[in-house]
């Protein structure tokens, strides 16, 4: 210790930071995000060239409508994966919230916003159960969320069976597919996604909580020593994942005008694929993760 202290700065070997010693253009181009965006561009141009009407305004419109649930859930999922955990139950929460909105609206006569609010609360509770079992009981998240994947989906299917609720007020189903500009190709729902994206970028990259998320992923033992409440961090990430999935479930219901128990089956693998493709190799959790948004198309 004293030896280190007595050493003068001049004697200390100059530290180099390989990542920052390269010129800016290399740092910008040789990133995972750029590779994915470039790939997306290649696919896009290929499709425009080969697929008739691919560059028509309708294509982009439906593409955006379809990927919104994936984009939404990818936000909390990115953070969950950065901490080294995984949440396989998100698509089941989508299904459950869809059924809840349907049942509460049809049988309990609640208006869509109230039913939606209840669904989001239930989604957060679903996430809280995941989070509790993972963070405070100390169970592996892969096993826990395989269990809740079946449990939440089972409750959704159990509530509605094979029937579907389809009589939603047009006012609300139209809202899900409304465009920003009449006849344009950008659906209105992109806006709430962008707001959430901004919130998550702030949370992950510019807040103490986000630093804790990265630290937890790199080494949760070390994170604990530096004062990060690892258990609480993971718990809230699962709650976030549940709440956002429930929101996606409401969107899913209104977009297709149908609440069914098997809505969004298998969506969890698409979300995880999008996150892994775009940003987070789950072992080296340090990659910047904003790029998960363009990853899926």
């Amino acid at each position: 210790m004293s030896a280190t202290l007595s050493r003068t700065p001049a004697q200390a070997p100059a530290r180099t930071y390989p990542a920052y010693s390269r010129p800016l253009w290399q740092r910008a181009l040789l990133t995972r995000e750029f590779a994915i965006i470039a790939l997306l561009g290649v696919v896009w141009f290929y499709s425009v060239a080969e697929v008739p009407n691919f560059d028509g305004p309708l294509t982009l419109y439906y593409l955006l409508l379809d990927i919104i649930p994936i984009l939404l859930i990818a936000l909390p999922m990115t953070m969950v994966i950065i901490t080294g955990e995984i949440d396989l139950s998100v698509a089941s929460v989508v299904g459950l919230s869809s059924v809840l909105v349907g049942v509460l609206h049809q049988d309990a006569g609640l208006s869509i916003p109230v039913a939606g609010l209840v669904a989001i609360v239930v989604g957060a509770l679903c996430g809280a159960l995941n989070g509790f079992l993972v963070s405070y009981v100390g169970l592996p998240s892969l096993a826990v969320t395989i269990g809740t994947l079946a449990l939440y989906r089972g409750i959704a299917v159990g509530l509605l069976g094979t029937t579907a609720v389809t009589d939603f007020p047009e006012k609300w189903t139209d809202l899900a597919t409304l465009r920003i500009v009449e006849g344009g190709s950008i659906p209105w729902v992109v806006l709430p996604f962008l707001v959430l994206l901004g919130l998550f970028v702030w949370l992950l990259h510019f807040s103490g909580f986000g630093r804790g998320v990265y630290e937890t992923g790199l080494n949760d033992e070390a994170a604990r020593f530096t004062g990060v409440d690892v258990a609480r961090t993971k718990f809230w990430l699962f709650v976030l994942a549940g709440a956002v999935s429930a929101f996606a479930g409401i969107y899913f219901t209104l977009r297709y005008g149908s609440a069914r128990g098997d809505n969004a089956t298998g969506l969890e693998l698409q979300v995880i694929a999008a996150v892994l493709l775009g940003a987070c190799p789950s072992s080296a959790a340090a990659a910047p993760c904003t790029a998960s948004s363009p990853a899926w198309s």
Binding site: L88, R153, G154, G158, A273
Partner: protein, 354 residues
């Protein structure tokens, strides 16, 4: 020695799951005799889990090495379709050749997984999630909207799915033979034990000089080959193969292993447990309507079961840990104090026992 072995058996996870399985069967039979006692019920009880059993055994081998194989459902679908195509394209092809082709195809697909995981240094979850889509994509583009029907396959092959030996369906015999071979291998051979060592601590295993890469590769090949075999079995059992074959069965396979006590982070668990887990999962699905619960609630019960299994695992592990710590402390305190120790330490030992 023998009492500790009996005690270990009683505490074992396999036994606990088997008891639950027996309870489920007993309850269902109590409600409706035909669940077990009719010839059809007996057959279904044994045949239906056989498919999942094969996948769960392969999954266990992979999970023990601290990896996971999510692509098994797609491999199953692909080989099931291959089976049908072999029969339609080569009339008169021997059934044995079809079985071998299915296993070889599965092994090849498993080898791709294994190579990517072992050499790519990418987590298995990511790799096999990718190949899940790739294999399913190959399947879809190959099969298109085509569909294999029972009339496309020879009756000698389809009868494999229905015939039985001494009242035990042939497919179940096949699955159990596979189970015994893999289980025996894992328990007794050097290469089998090494899989556990690799799963417990991959870095230590590598430092110790174990052939980690080769073992992990083999584990994936085994899992793929068993999924391939399951694909052929699927074709024989159901007679039809459409593009939905094996969709999302991979989570059931992982679930069966987890219920059966295979630790998801590697290093512990047995194929016996996974096999009983597979039986339990499938049997519960069939038992629920019999005991008067709408089968729409099946999945919820299965999910609750998986959660209960892993929570139970945790509780038992923690109790065991506490017991071991207590034993160790009391042993240390009971030991005669080394020469030169002040007598205070012996009084503290008495206090600890009080």
């Amino acid at each position: 020695m023998s009492t500790s072995r009996v005690g270990g058996l009683l505490r074992s996870r396999e036994l606990a799951v088997a008891v639950v399985l027996l309870l489920v069967v007993a309850l269902a039979t109590w409600n409706s005799d035909s669940f077990l006692l009719s010839s059809d019920g007996w057959r279904n009880l044994l045949v239906t889990p056989s498919l999942l059993l094969l996948l769960a055994v392969g999954q266990t081998v992979v999970i023990i090495t601290r990896n996971v194989d999510l692509s098994v459902g797609s491999v199953l679908g692909l080989t099931a379709y291959l089976t049908g195509r072999l029969f339609t394209d080569n009339p008169g092809i021997p059934v044995v050749v079809v079985f071998l082709a299915g296993i070889a195809m599965g092994a090849l697909l498993g080898l791709v997984n294994g190579v990517l995981v072992a050499f790519g240094k990418v987590p298995a979850l990511v790799i096999t999630l990718g190949t899940l889509y790739v294999y399913r994509g190959i399947f879809l583009s190959w099969a298109g909207s085509d569909r294999i029907n029972a009339s496309d396959m020879p009756s000698s092959f389809l009868s494999l799915g229905t015939s039985s030996v001494l009242g035990i369906p042939l497919l179940t015999v096949l699955a159990v033979v596979v189970l015994v071979v893999v289980g025996h291998h894992l328990r007794t051979t050097r290469s089998g034990r090494e899989l556990y060592a690799i799963g417990s601590d991959p870095d230590a295993a590598r430092l110790y000089g174990l052939p980690v890469t080769r073992r992990v590769l083999t584990a994936f090949v085994v899992s793929g080959a068993l999924a391939g075999l399951a694909g052929v079995v699927y074709a024989a059992r159901y007679g039809t193969v459409s593009s939905g074959a094996g969709l999302s069965i991979e989570l059931q396979a992982v679930g069966a292993a987890v219920i059966g006590g295979v630790a998801i982070f590697g290093g512990s668990g047995t194929v016996w447990g996974a096999a009983i887990g597979a039986f339990l999962l499938v049997t519960i699905n069939r038992a629920l309507p019999v005991v008067g619960i709408s089968d729409f609630w099946q999945q919820a019960v299965v999910g609750a079961l998986i959660l209960a299994a892993i929570v139970l695992d945790r509780v038992l592990a923690r109790r065991q840990e506490r017991r071991l710590v207590a034993e160790q402390t009391s042993v240390r305190l009971d030991a005669p104090p080394p020469p030169g120790t002040p007598p205070a330490s012996s009084s503290s030992s008495r206090k600890a026992h009080a």
